[in-house]
């Protein structure tokens, strides 16, 4: 997994609530057996018309935001299906950080597993960053994971919370499975006890 330390980039505003994972990556792209290549179809039905032609007013099609690395969105981002294709598409497009007033649980988890930082902030702070992002290419945002701080284009600073374990995994690019396998003795001990207490399971 790619590490995440500090990121400075353009932030794209997507002022919508309840953006679901069907919207982020529609089902016709879930037939892939790979993790890569989904960026082209990120937000497919909002981004392209029925003939596959770009809709010029969709935020990621506007010249200022084609290289966006941060996405600022409304509440309950990533609700619906558990498809990890959603963060894969976001990552493949080049976005490494999503800022919103709230996220759906499974999507939030999936982000960390893919080197994407989801940042939850109070609505007023998201609104302010959203307004700054509307200014386009000149207004970059810096996301500093180590100091848990976002720096806006006019020098404003906003701090955020992140679970310490997830922070460490992102900063060091740690592989969860490798870490868990180190606990093999504990897993074995559990299995023995469990087989004794709940033999039918």
């Amino acid at each position: 997994m790619q590490t995440f330390t500090t990121l400075t980039g353009i932030a794209a505003p997507l002022p919508m609530i309840n953006v679901d994972t069907d919207m982020i990556i529609p089902k016709q792209f879930l037939k892939t057996i790979k993790r890569t290549g989904l960026g082209r179809n990120l937000f497919d039905e909002m981004r392209y018309d029925a003939n596959g032609v770009e809709k010029p007013d969709f935020v990621l099609n506007r010249p200022a935001y084609r290289g966006a690395q941060v996405l600022i969105a409304g509440a309950n981002f990533g609700c619906g299906s558990s498809r990890e294709h959603a963060p894969w598409a976001i990552l493949d497009f080049g976005i490494r950080c999503i800022i919103a007033p709230g996220f759906a649980d499974i999507f939030y988890n999936n982000c960390f597993k893919n080197g994407i930082l989801p940042v939850k902030l109070p609505q007023e702070q998201v609104d302010r960053l959203m307004a700054a992002a509307e200014r386009g290419a000149g207004a970059t945002v810096t996301v500093d994971l180590e100091h848990q701080e976002i720096r806006g284009p006019d020098g404003e600073r906003v701090s955020f919370d992140v679970d310490p374990f997830r922070k460490r995994c992102l900063m060091e690019g740690l592989d969860d499975i490798g870490l868990t396998l180190r606990k093999d003795a504990a897993i074995r001990a559990f299995e023995q006890r469990h087989a004794h207490e709940h033999p039918w399971l």
Partner: protein
């Protein structure tokens, strides 16, 4: 005396393998269901790292999302779908995972197959790379959906890293009126909580209405829990649960059954346990529900009207409503009953079980599908289909002009050939009315099986209680 605990607390604590200093928990996973869409990259990851499946016997795989619902002997026409199913076949063979093939009568939607096979048991932790894994909580299991990286983690270690959830209890008191089903209860709860209302929680459903539900109905309620944003839904096991499970292929037998059942009887929330949030509904007040928008929370009783965004004070919500009505092609103030529909879909892991088909067939019997309406019944599994046919339900549907299909996810998410065309309006027993969910530009109204059947007959959304 120890502190009173909730059902969730009990299952969680009995599955803790390790707790890190920062509070992150490693929990043991008893049962892992796998389907073709969210697993290829997980198996690929194992292969790349030279890892094995730690407990193949705790894992059960089935293809459901991509399978055709028409003649299976022809194979899968769409090449990408075919490759995805083939990849699951190959991965299961390579890693030694039990797999129900497309031509196996036990094949079906993963969340219908698990309970049917007795793979789903009370007190177990159950995961699947699919958000509707919440369905299995109906048995008093802790069941939740995970992403593909987590699927790989479970395959490799039989554990998951998780932080504990908060407890919520939703109590439904009283009794339901005739024509009101478990689906209406689920939709009414989502309408009350909103799609993010359950975020961070595990919901335990309780109260006389829930207790009176069959296992099928309980599964419908738990299935929709994810649409309220909650991680899992659960219902304490009781006689109804045990009666459903007894004798299923993978449930314990003989003395082991007695032992298990004695243990399961203790799986309920202790008197005095504290919930972080409590919601109470009166079952008698719940009417048949129908969604009008593009989120399951956009729901209202069939007797009401399409709401007016102008009356919504919150700007974000107002904009979402305007967008939803534009997408749905509906004007504020339109009565919900009377909206003309083009298609009907009866099926999915929400409402593709035998009881759902019986309820729909009871409405359909002796009637005809309205002119110009295309209506589809897709049983949730091969066993549901077989049972329905033995009861003559297929004949009732066919006689009325419905199509009778092979089992799978079908038009719930339209990954196979079954889908809405742009602008088509559908009364659907599935669980999501998101933009494009049933096909690009398709318009979905979520309803119960009874309401979907009534809509097929009337050619429009209608209160099933008024269908004469």
């Amino acid at each position: 005396m120890s502190k009173p605990r909730t059902l969730f607390d009990k299952i969680w604590q009995s599955h803790l393998v390790d707790v890190q200093d920062d509070g992150t928990c490693l929990i043991y996973i008893d049962r892992h269901l796998v389907h073709e869409v969210t697993s290829p990259q997980a198996f690929e990851g194992l292969r790349a790292a030279g890892r094995k499946v730690r407990c193949p016997e705790r894992t059960l795989a089935v293809a459901d999302h991509n399978v055709p619902t028409t003649d299976r002997s022809l194979g899968i026409a769409d090449e990408e779908s075919r490759i995805q199913v083939q990849t699951l076949d190959d991965n299961c063979a390579e890693f030694g995972v039990e797999y129900l093939r497309m031509d196996d009568v036990r094949q079906g939607v993963v969340h219908i197959v698990g309970p049917e096979q007795g793979f789903t048991l009370p007190g177990a932790t159950i995961v699947c790379g699919d958000s509707h894994t919440s369905t299995h909580g109906a048995f008093g299991a802790l069941a939740f959906g995970i992403g593909t990286s987590e699927v790989e983690h479970v395959l490799a270690t039989q554990t998951l890293l998780q932080s504990p959830a908060r407890n919520m209890r939703v109590t439904v008191n009283g009794t339901l009126s005739a024509g009101v089903s478990a689906k209406d209860v689920a939709l009414a709860i989502i309408g009350r909580l909103g799609t993010a209302g359950g975020t961070g929680y595990v919901i335990e459903y309780a109260g006389p209405v829930i207790r009176a539900l069959s296992m099928e109905g309980r599964m419908t309620v738990c299935n929709m829990t994810i649409e309220a944003g909650a991680r899992a839904g659960m219902i304490a096991p009781d006689g109804t649960t045990f009666a459903y499970l007894r004798g299923r292929p993978r449930t314990p037998k003989g003395a082991a059954w007695e032992l298990a059942q004695a243990n399961w009887r203790m799986l309920s929330t202790d008197e005095g346990a504290v919930f972080d949030r409590e919601i109470v509904l009166d079952g008698a007040e719940i009417e048949p529900q129908v969604t009008w928008g593009t989120s399951p929370e956009d729901v209202a009783p069939i007797g009401s009207h399409v709401p007016d965004p102008a009356k919504e004070p919150d700007e974000g919500k107002r904009r979402a409503m305007e967008r939803a009505l534009d997408y749905m092609g509906l004007a504020p103030g339109t009565p919900l009953a009377g909206i003309a529909i083009d298609r009907v879909f009866i099926g999915s892991c929400t409402n593709g079980r035998i009881e759902d088909l019986r309820a729909a067939a009871a409405v359909v019997q002796g009637r005809k599908v309205a002119e110009g309406v295309n209506a589809l019944v897709v049983p949730g599994s091969g066993l549901v289909k077989e049972q329905a046919e033995s009861e003559g339900l297929d004949a009732i549907f066919l006689e009325a002009g419905f199509e009778w299909r092979e089992p799978g996810c079908s038009m719930c998410l339209a990954m196979n050939a079954d889908r809405l065309e742009p602008g088509e309006r559908c009364a659907s027993t599935s669980n999501r009315n998101f933009e494009g969910r049933q096909g690009r530009g398709g318009r979905t109204h979520l309803v119960s099986p009874e309401m979907a059947a009534a809509a097929a007959i009337a050619g429009r959304l209608v209160d099933v209680r008024k269908l004469v």
